[in-house]
Each structure stands twice: as C-alpha cells, then as structure tokens.
Symmetry: C2
Subunit: 206 residues, 2 copies
DNA sequence: GTCTATAGTTAGATAGAC
DNA sequence: GTCTATCTAACTATAGAC
C-alpha cells in the first residue's frame, strides 16, 4: 500500500484521505486505526478526537464513496437524446468515472455484501430508485417501438452494469489470468470506453 | 461418546462447513473463530486442534473455493465444437455453477483484492494460464477467419466474464437497485443461462 | 489541537483435565 | 477428541498533560 504522507491540508482532511485509502483496500474489519493514523501522519488519539469512533469514521468514508458511484448517471437517461446515444454516453461516463476511482466498486460491493439492508437503507435515496425505474421503462419502450430487439429490460440493465463495472471489480483476478501488466490493463480500460457501447448496441440491434 | 446431533459428519467436516459459511460472508478479517466454533457446534479449542490456526483454516477454505470457480471451464474450449456452440456451453456452464454457489465469486474476489500476488501464486497453476491463453487464441482466430467481427480477444474475454459473473458479485446492490425480490432475482439468473450467450453471439456477429 | 500513557475489550492460541 | 480455563497480543477508546 501507498503509505506516503498526506500534507498541506487540514488535519481533518488528511485523516479522511488516509482513512479512504486504508478502508478501501482493507475493508472495515481489516482496517486498523493505527494504520490510518500513520498514513495521516498523526496520532491515534486524534482520530477519536475528530471522529469519535472507527464506526463513525467508516460511515463517512462509505457514504462518500457510495455517493460518487452513481450520481449524474441516471440523469443521462433523462436527456433528450437518441436512445443509442444515451447508452454510449452512459457507458463512457461510467467507465471514465471508475477509471479515476478504480477501488470504489469493490469497496462498496464487499462492504455491502456483509450488511446489505443496513447499508442500503442508510445510503440509498428514493429518488435514485425512481430514476432507475425510469431507465427500465425507457428500455421497455425502445423494445416495444422496435428500436431494439425484444429483450427483458432488467437483463439489459444487468448486462450494461456488468460490462461497465466488472473489469474493475475483478481486476486483481482478471489481470493475472490474462497475464497483462498494469499499463496494458489500463489501456484495455481506456479502450472499453468506446468498445463497450459498440458491443452493447450491436447486441440489441433488432 | 456418541453425543452427535443430527450431523452424521465427522467433526472435521462440520468445522469445514461452518468455516466456509462464516468466511464466505465475513471475509478473513471479519470472521471470528468463536463464531465458526458455534456454527460447527463445537469448542474453539477444537478448531485449533484440527487446524492449528485461523490462517491455515482459511487457506483450506479459500483454496477449495477458488478451485471450484474455474476448473472444467477451460476444457470446454478445447472440445471439437463449433465456435458459437463453445460460447453457449461456456456461459451456460458458468452461470449454472455460480447459481449453485452464489457466494463464491465475491468471496474469492474480495479476499484476492487484499493480497493479490500472494494468493495468486499460491492458488493458480500454470496449466490454467495456458488454457486461458489457448482460449484467447481461439478468439483471435475466429476474428481472423471472419467468423466473428474484428474484436480485441482480451476485450471479448472481459465481456464474457463480466456478463457471467457480475450479476452474482453485485447482487446485494443490483437486486436492491432494481427492486426485485429474491425469487424474481433467481428467475432472472436462470434466464441468463440462455440470454447471455444470445447477447454475446449477436454482439460479435460479423 | 495534539500528544503520551493507559484502560478496557476482544480474539487467537495454548495448557491440561477427562 | 473434546472440554474448561487461561495466557497473550492486538486493537479500540479514553484520560490527562501541554
């Protein structure tokens, strides 16, 4: 792990950044307050001074990570654009987002896995669910109008999410299985910005 | 002596089964030896009697889980079958496998995420890598022969793996986002056995 | 706000009786 | 083989000086 000190920020910011780095790699249970303190270049006691408990510190990190993972994406599907263009824009935006924050998905997924309903109730707003339903309706309409072939809209949604997210979640395994080095893998991810939407669009052509 | 309950299994087997259940949900760091002992209906000390340490017990569970995740799948691509049939067979087999062991992928992925090279060296045999390269070559050939459209074989491999695995890895999130209940989600996974290969095959048509 | 020192808990591992 | 009791280390959290 990268243990470089985070400096020229307020102590609170340094703690948050350090906590992010540690939690995201080790998870809640695996993270140690001492390690976060070291990474922030401060003392353990100060962590509690700023954030009362490990739990509370984690909450803040998780909430923030989760918030970054979806917002603005649903919005794309409400724009007045051709259907296929929306898919292009969505996949490009999503993949770009995750290229910049590659640890986010596996962090959110594995923490959620341990405590699904709890985390979900805490962090998912009803509006988000509404906009997801809205996307589903658009898929269904497109199929009905013959714009795309008949396909269960939920399957289409699963397929799109899978193609965007999994190469990042599964990277430690996939990269080693495919025996490519870091640079090559990053290039593959760059290329996916275009190739994934092409793949999807051909797959749903009538 | 014969104080065993329902279980006609050996103590060792009961421990392994309990450990599997606990590790798979909580991960190595989150799991507690006490919880495993409780789940197995035995004492903490007995865990150490059978498996020296938490580390060793975990090793055994992880090795086994990992072993179940790929084997036999690479073999499909060495059979004398039409190319598209191989893809069908692969996705069907994979999805069926994961339907039966839905916790496997996220367990393997999140543990691997914390310690990639270590785990990889311990658990990946060179033959597996060879057969993966072999699959890659088949993709490349199919593209060259014009059987499928030009596509980077590595991207195709990423796409196939993503479509098969992610809906299981991401289930806690996806299911809640899409607001479907357990039964419906299982039905969706059943349906994917067919629909995923159809999706892929159309996407790579020349 | 930041530190040192320490209290309080928990969890992995071992000793020893049966 | 299985148990109870206990040791030891690690970790979260707090007290109190500066």
């Amino acid at each position: 792990m990268d243990n470089t000190l985070v400096s020229d920020q307020s102590t609170e910011q340094r703690i948050l950044e350090a906590a992010r780095r540690v939690f995201v790699v080790k998870g809640f249970a695996g993270a140690r307050m001492q390690e976060i303190a070291d990474a922030a270049g401060i003392n353990k006691a100060l962590l509690h001074y700023y954030f009362r408990s490990k739990e509370k510190l984690f909450e803040q990190i998780f909430r923030e990570a989760f918030g970054r993972l979806l917002p603005g994406l649903a919005e794309i599907f409400s724009r007045p654009l051709p259907f296929f263009r929306k898919i292009e824009l969505f996949t490009e935006t999503y993949i770009s987002l995750v290229i910049e924050q590659p640890y986010l998905p596996v962090f959110v997924l594995s923490e959620m896995h341990r405590n699904p309903d709890d985390f979900f109730q805490k962090h998912i707003q009803p509006e988000m669910l509404a906009s997801i339903r809205q996307i589903g309706r658009q898929f269904a309409e497109a199929a009905q109008e013959g714009l795309i072939r008949p396909i269960d809209p939920r399957q289409l949604m699963l397929n799109i999410m899978s193609l965007c997210v999994f190469p990042f979640v599964g990277r430690p395994m996939l990269q080693r299985m495919m025996q490519v080095n870091d640079t090559e893998y990053q290039q593959l991810m760059e290329a996916r910005r275009q190739s994934v939407s092409a793949f999807i669009i051909q797959a749903i052509q009538p």
